[in-house]
Symmetry: C2
């Protein structure tokens, strides 16, 4: 059996109301010609996001004053990562870890985030570290699978999994030299900073925990979906972020075989809250998922879309709310590509 | 037993003489005040690199004309990755793969490199993909270990491992607004574009192959070494690259316990060629490694430092040269951090 403790979570340091972020976006667009129509739509898009507040690791004032966005986003990711690990290490000794898996799409270059954390947070220097990149919100399903394999094969006995993204800082760092598209404005209105961390262990951990017998990762790249998501830089070297409309219209059909498969229990299937429209579409088509999707929507409302920490944050909240988590736990996420992933944990026991 | 075929290798499209790259660096520095002394050192540093030529996926002229370096480096990494996979798929069917591991430090953002390749190269859409980032030259040791675990746990039966970096394109894209340090010039003189790919399989593959019983990854972060390597962006949002001097003075001591350990056979230990000074230091302290280090130095001389493809390229050349590869094969690399890693493959049989 492979064991985890309860995930710890950490939001970006600055909670900023969505109304304030809408005002900031309108203010930036005012400097650009021909954006009258777009400015009117900002209010509509931001209001319909169902997001109350988002979190930024670096404050809006600081971001607007800095030009070195590549370094600022790395710095935000690193700072948030440290806070999440500090919380984890309040409960568990960091020097008992013998491997680390870090999942982030917002840290770029090297030395890697994992090695920087290993150096600064008291981890053993002989612990191997794996940094998984480019997974967006599908990060934790891959990260947990990798941690499971490290323990299962005997490569490690206690692995720290950290999922951290500063997509909000990335988006708010952008200086718009051209009017953004609707797809870009939608992405800006979702992106937030957050992290979640959990220990994966060969033995039960102190405190509340959960164990599983089997772990399988299912993954599907949707055909012709690569253009639906973009998190890179623009041609003028500004941080770029976009999310397409087709995800919304395709999600019910793409997830249908997964949701209606024989081995999914709607009470123990947890969903990454990618956006309000996605949650509504899933709930309409699958009323049996309503209680679980309500947890997801709560995370979205209070945190925005935080990237790789997202579905672990949902697990954290479902656990705290006393939701059932076994015997067949499913973590379901959407990642850039568009990719839908499902981590299938079977034989789950909660302690 | 876990099996691999022979690695395929691919260099950046444009072979550029080191003398020409030295001239390009001097030309760039001429535009900056106070670089007279530094310009004289460029010749010395580049000549003493023992590198004859390096490879750039995008040509020097194109790079000097483009301002969107973030996108250019992604584009170069992607283009090189495709060429390596095309070579691999000349020998093996791409639709027989059921998982993919991509190791790159030079591709940033999402959709990930793996998903872009999956979409364009005929891979099954339900194959899970893992992108390992920030590993620099230590990438293949981690990548092979991950591929081994995917096969060993039954998560996949045939995994494509691709290691690809366009560090040369990154370095040559830089517009210097300030005089670089010596550490930066040294990094510029090493950085080159290259890739290597290999299949990792539960069954023996067609053609020449190699299999192993056991696979373990050893990894050690050197104390106080995080400042020795940097591959990010500068404060003025230009591509940044640096490599420190302490690696050279510490390598013999740091690798001593590994090299002189009881389970290392000097004939079947393959080294990442990080730089000429590193190879010389290792050869002086460990004459028994001379035949193996000669293969590594040959790769450095003709390819430069290509990042994550490096030690697989050495394996490719050692295999082609008829060097022994078993029964205890060791792949030894240095990654940013500084991290030394050793992949220990035991019970190796070559077919």
């Amino acid at each position: 059996m492979i064991h985890i403790g309860r995930p710890v979570v950490a939001a970006g340091r600055h909670a900023v109301a969505q109304t304030e972020l809408a005002a900031a976006m309108r203010r930036r667009l005012e400097a650009l010609e021909g954006t009258d129509e777009l400015r009117k739509m900002v209010g509509f898009i931001y209001e319909h996001s169902s997001i109350v507040q988002r979190h930024l690791e670096l404050g809006l004032d600081e971001l607007e004053a800095r030009e070195d966005w590549y370094l600022a986003v790395n710095e935000a990711t690193m700072s948030l990562a440290r806070r999440a690990l500090e919380r984890l290490f309040e409960q568990h000794q960091s020097d008992e870890l013998d491997a680390m898996v870090v999942v982030s799409s917002s840290f770029a270059g090297f030395p890697s985030l994992s090695r920087r954390l290993q150096d600064g947070m008291g981890l053993r220097l002989d612990a191997p570290c794996y940094d998984l990149a480019g997974l967006g919100c599908a990060g934790p399903t891959h990260g947990l699978h990798l941690a499971d394999m490290l323990v299962r094969t005997g490569a490690a006995r206690r692995v720290c999994l950290l999922c951290v993204d500063a997509m909000g800082t990335h988006g708010e760092s952008r200086v718009h030299h051209q009017a953004p598209t609707i797809s870009q404005v939608v992405a800006h209105c979702l992106a937030s900073d957050g992290a979640a961390a959990v220990l994966v262990s060969a033995e039960p951990l102190d405190g509340p925990g959960l164990g599983w017998e089997d772990c399988r990762l299912r993954s599907k790249l949707w055909p012709d979906s690569l253009g639906e998501n973009d998190f890179t830089a623009s041609a003028d070297n500004q941080p770029f972020i976009a999310v397409g409309k087709a995800i919304r219209t395709r999600i019910v059909e793409e997830l249908g075989p997964v949701i209606n498969g024989p081995d999914l229990d709607p009470d123990t299937a947890l969903f990454h809250p990618g956006g309000a429209a996605l949650m509504r579409a899933l709930a309409m088509a699958n009323p049996q998922l309503a209680p679980s999707l309500a947890i997801s929507s709560g995370v979205l409302e209070q945190r925005g879309n935080i990237g790789s920490g997202s579905v672990l944050w949902v697990l954290h909240d479902a656990w705290a709310a006393g939701r059932p988590l076994g015997p067949r736990l499913r973590l379901i996420a959407l990642g850039p590509g568009i990719v839908s992933t499902m981590l299938c944990l079977d034989g789950v026991e909660v302690r």
